[in-house]
Symmetry: C2
Subunit: 108 residues, 2 copies
DNA sequence: CCGTTAATTAACGCAACCGTTAAATTGCAA
DNA sequence: TTGCAATTTAACGGTTGCGTTAATTAACGG
């Protein structure tokens, strides 16, 4: 029984993906902080945050009128652990990918 | 422009996730190889393989009557690279997770 | 050729997903 | 208590996703 499909489902929605990225970069933020990032209503944001919470990707903390959300490192770690578990499968390809990127950088 | 949500969407479906896992473990397999793994029809399998192909997770090769599918290391590498790009965010948590797992193993 | 095997495409139904607006909840502040 | 601010819940509608069966394509084997 793997929770990965649930995690992937939560991250498959571009708005939710962006929310998680921002939370990882900036740390704890109130729900309202995402209203300016996307052209969707507050209820839509709220539901996205709830989906992320159900997948274990964020936690909620109440402070005064605000609901403060944070990304959960453990769950991002689960994704990482899955990828690392298949490292032998993709590592050669990734080396080539990194090399290509590096050469691309140097060429500029 | 990130292709990650598309990749995550493809992996969010348990059947597709299992298909990718098997292809990574066993290498190239014909479409029919997955018929016994799940309780769904051949057309359903075919559509799942097409979704995986559109996300860049598998490639198709024709040989006689068979369509042989393989997992694409580069795309798994993209997921890995994303997780590694946020390593500083989750690494401490992952260490604790590994430690807990290790202690769990030793306790048995 | 003919029948079988392997797989896909077509057509359809149902459930889930994601958006909206309106209403409800909760805390704060005048 | 009145009202505002922050967020969620309720109710509804359109689109997408995933399954089915039936039909089609393509290649092989007698």
């Amino acid at each position: 029984m793997s929770e990965l499909p649930l995690i992937f489902a939560a991250l498959s929605e571009p708005t939710r993906f962006a929310i998680v990225e921002r939370l990882m970069a900036e740390g704890e933020l109130p729900a309202g902080a995402f209203l300016d990032d996307f052209d969707i209503s507050a209820p839509a944001i709220s539901r996205h945050l709830n989906v992320l919470s159900n997948a274990g990707l964020v936690t909620k903390r109440v402070n005064r009128q605000q609901r403060l959300y944070s990304a959960r490192p453990e769950t991002i770690g689960v994704v990482s652990a899955w990828a690392m578990g298949h490292r032998e499968f993709w590592e050669n390809s990734l080396k080539r990918l990194e090399l290509a990127l590096q050469q691309e950088m140097e060429r500029k």
